[in-house]
């Protein structure tokens, strides 16, 4: 339990931590997890859920904002949920993270080429082209998406949607930080 690291590897400027939470795949489990965050006043920055390779379990990837609550307490409270089987804290430096964004950007014919070039640079895909707008999708690590989104903003984003990040430990090195297998009551 004490191996859960509540120190922020980035210093104060960055207060996000990634928890990969393996849960039993049962009705209401997402409500239990999100309800816990709401009830205890913890902030969720983003959240992604999907079945894992074993159909009995799902994986919830939560990016938590720990500016207000120590991560250790969040992890321990999460562990108290009976359906939570395992919690792994992923150190962003030792994990691969991916996120997807789709965005519709206002752009007239004249500037469309600039957008296409930008998309090309970021390996984004143009999904649809209209008279005065294009829809683009991009995936990659969240910082890259941040940068891309920032650039698009200059043109005017009509609508955009991000998925929230998913993450796994990097393969090469010992990447699991504090994979806690013990269980709370």
């Amino acid at each position: 339990m004490s191996s859960i690291n509540s120190n922020n590897p980035y210093g104060d400027s960055r207060q996000h931590h990634i928890l990969s939470v393996m849960v039993q795949n049962r009705p209401g489990v997402l409500a239990r997890v999100s309800g816990l965050f709401a009830r205890r006043g913890y902030n969720i920055y983003s959240l992604a859920v999907a079945p894992s390779d074993d159909p009995n379990y799902s994986r919830i990837t939560i990016v938590v904002d720990i500016s207000a609550t120590p991560l250790e307490q969040i992890v321990k409270q999460l562990f108290k949920l009976i359906d939570v089987v395992r919690i792994t804290e992923l150190d962003p430096r030792k994990s691969v993270e991916r996120e997807l964004m789709i965005a519709t950007v206002r752009v007239d014919g004249e500037h469309r080429g600039q957008i296409a070039e930008l998309a090309n640079l970021f390996e984004a895909k143009v999904l649809a082209v209209g008279a005065d707008a294009v829809t683009i999708s991009i995936d990659g690590n969240p910082e890259k998406i941040d940068d891309f989104e920032e650039l698009l903003r200059g043109y005017g984003i009509v609508e955009s949607q991000r998925t929230g990040r998913v993450a796994l430990p990097k393969l090469e090195r010992e990447a699991r930080k504090g994979a806690t297998k013990g269980k709370a009551s």
């Binding site: 309800g35 009830r39 120590p70 307490q73 409270q77 562990f79 939570v84 269980k183 709370a184 009551s185």
Partner: protein, 585 residues
């Protein structure tokens, strides 16, 4: 026994409860739970029919408090389930094992806003240790086994099972899951009971080295049935002990090492001993805000050993120097062993006689006190409580409501035996005492059960005395009638310039007539010379419940008091003792 047996879901439910050794349950039927009430007719389980579902929940709690076994309540869907929310939350806050079964609309109607449908698992999610909506009759035995397993292991708590009507009506092939199957079905639930050996050794060393240790006992000591071994530890090294509101009785009040209750209305000695301590040995206690006062000025010089079965309690409020996750009894046994080993190796315990004499000095200087009433004055509630205490038969169980009377009961009673004090600590639920007393008495019919109640609290759940009468579960209720929501009035007097807003209860009802209408004996006590006789009469009646109304002083205040948010150093003493304040150094 491999012959396949076919049962209805309802039959499977009742059989499962029987196999979990349920002897009594508290409830009230209705539409969706109807199927379960039919096989109950032939069951060995006694069902107590309540007058309000909240009563069923608190009765189950009272039962659990005094037996350590899970209390069981069964009610229907919708309004009955919502009536159960308060007891569930109460049990959750005080870690009381409880299993609650609610009816639900048929599976095909779920989500349609059907008659008496409510999202019971959604509503109760944050007030239960776990809850489950059962969707197939064949899942019932496993759901029941899981519920009892979860409610009673690790940190105990309430578990709710929601049962749609068609699930109760459908048939299933009976199978009673094995222990192994139950454990395997809950891969995310592995409570840790055994403390870490390194931490235990560390704790033993700290205890031997401490000059000013205090054993800070919480309700977990009772849950873990650890009172005996904790006493052994205290006596071995002569360590002063304080017992929180949830731990009263875990260590005998008459023991010379006992300094009573700490906290907002604790004894000056218990509060100050903790403040000045250099080592708090927290056993099954959770550094509740009512105990710590202002957290960052709480026991600033103390190192902390924190033994708790719930890892999330470690460091939640105060970072421990030695965190030990485990069952209190097992861990304290191990700590004792480690201490004895260290002593055998020649490490001796620090002499704590100077500390003890300092603590004893406080105890002498600041005993509990109140002003006696003059001739013709109203009764003093503390005096009535002392009289009740002194006349109470051996082994009496005391159950309390919430308010001033609760604090006086905790302070002025003498608890010398575990499981003789039942109250609502964490949630502070007015209306707890009457039904909880009935549950306690149902569990321990040979004991006298006295509920100490307030006039406000009594009016919240008094109707359960009808249940007591019809079920023949005879309890005794002492109402400390100060004609006020007294605790709130005290705060308005002290912190809102005596501007009394909506706290006056005077004028109605007539408690004696009300008691009689419910089949109880009603007694009113208005003057000092009536007290002894009334209490003797109440104690002598065993074939009916008794309500004794004590007309007590309206403006009496509870002291000592640490105002909300203040430091424990700023404890307000009884006005008679304020002049001696300097002795609290």
């Amino acid at each position: 026994m491999s012959t396949k047996e076919t049962l209805t879901g309802a039959e499977a439910l009742i059989r499962s409860l029987e196999l979990e050794n349920v002897e009594i349950m508290f409830g009230l039927p209705g539409g969706c739970i109807l199927p379960a009430y039919d096989p109950l007719l032939k069951s060995s389980i006694r069902h107590v029919l309540v007058r309000h579902e909240q009563g069923a929940g608190h009765m189950a709690q009272g039962y659990a408090h005094v037996t350590g076994r899970p209390g069981v309540a069964m009610v229907t869907s919708g309004p009955a389930a919502t009536n159960m929310v308060t007891p569930l939350c109460d049990a959750f806050m005080d870690s009381i094992p409880m299993v609650c079964i609610t009816g639900q609309v048929p599976t095909s109607a779920i989500g349609t806003d059907a008659f008496q449908e409510c999202d019971t698992v959604g509503i109760t999610r944050s007030v239960t240790k776990h809850n489950e909506l059962v969707m197939r009759a064949e899942d019932i035995p496993m759901a029941v086994r899981q519920a009892f397993y979860i409610a009673t292991t690790g940190r105990p708590g309430p578990v709710l099972i929601d049962m749609p009507k068609d699930v109760l009506q459908n048939t299933m092939t009976w199978h009673w899951p094995t222990d192994e199957e139950v454990v395997d079905s809950l891969p995310g639930y592995r409570p840790n009971v055994k403390g870490h050996p390194k931490m235990i050794k560390e704790a033993a060393k700290l205890i031997l080295a401490s000059e000013k240790p205090v054993l800070y006992l919480g309700g977990g000591v009772l849950k873990a049935r650890a009172a005996e071994v904790v006493k052994e530890l205290a006596e071995l090294l002569q360590i002063p002990v304080v017992t929180t509101l949830m731990a009263r009785g875990a260590f005998p009040d008459k023991h010379p090492l006992c300094y009573g209750m700490p906290g907002m209305h604790g004894t000056a000695t218990a509060i100050t001993a903790m403040q000045k301590s250099d080592l708090l040995i927290a056993l099954g206690s959770r550094f509740d805000d009512r105990v710590t006062g202002k957290v960052n000025s709480f026991a600033q010089d103390a190192k902390i050993i924190h033994v708790d079965i719930d890892p999330a309690e470690q460091g939640k409020v105060r970072k421990p120097d030695v965190p030990i996750v485990g069952d209190c009894r097992q861990v304290v046994e191990e700590i004792l062993k480690a201490i004895k080993e260290l002593m055998a190796e020649g490490i001796s315990a620090t002499d704590i006689t100077p500390w003890r004499s300092r603590v004893n000095g406080w105890k002498e200087q600041f005993p509990l006190t109140y002003d006696m009433s003059g001739p013709g004055d109203k009764l003093k509630p503390q005096f009535c409580l002392e009289k009740l205490r002194d006349a109470a038969p051996e082994g009496t169980i005391v159950v309390s409501g919430v308010g001033q009377h609760q604090m006086w009961a905790s302070l002025f009673w003498e608890f010398n035996e575990p499981y003789t004090w039942v109250n609502s600590g964490g949630l502070g639920t007015m209306g707890f005492s009457v039904p909880a007393a009935i549950g306690a008495k149902a569990a321990k019919p040979d004991r006298t059960v006295w509920a100490i109640d307030g006039d406000g609290c009594f009016q919240m759940t008094a109707q359960e005395l009808v249940t007591a009468t019809t079920e023949g579960i005879h309890v005794k209720i002492a109402i400390m009638n100060n004609t006020y929501l007294g605790m709130v009035r005290q705060w308005q007097e002290m912190f809102y310039g005596q501007r009394y807003s909506e706290v006056d209860l005077a004028g109605c009802p007539d408690f004696v007539k009300w008691a009689e209408a419910m089949g109880c004996v009603g007694i009113r006590v208005e003057s000092v010379d009536e007290i002894d006789e009334a209490i003797a009469l109440a104690n002598s009646i065993n074939d009916r419940s008794v309500v004794v109304e004590f007309r007590v002083e309206e403006f009496e205040k509870v002291f000592p008091m640490v105002p909300a948010g203040a430091s424990n150093d700023e404890v307000l003493l009884h006005p008679n003792q304020e002049s001696r304040r300097e002795f609290l150094k």
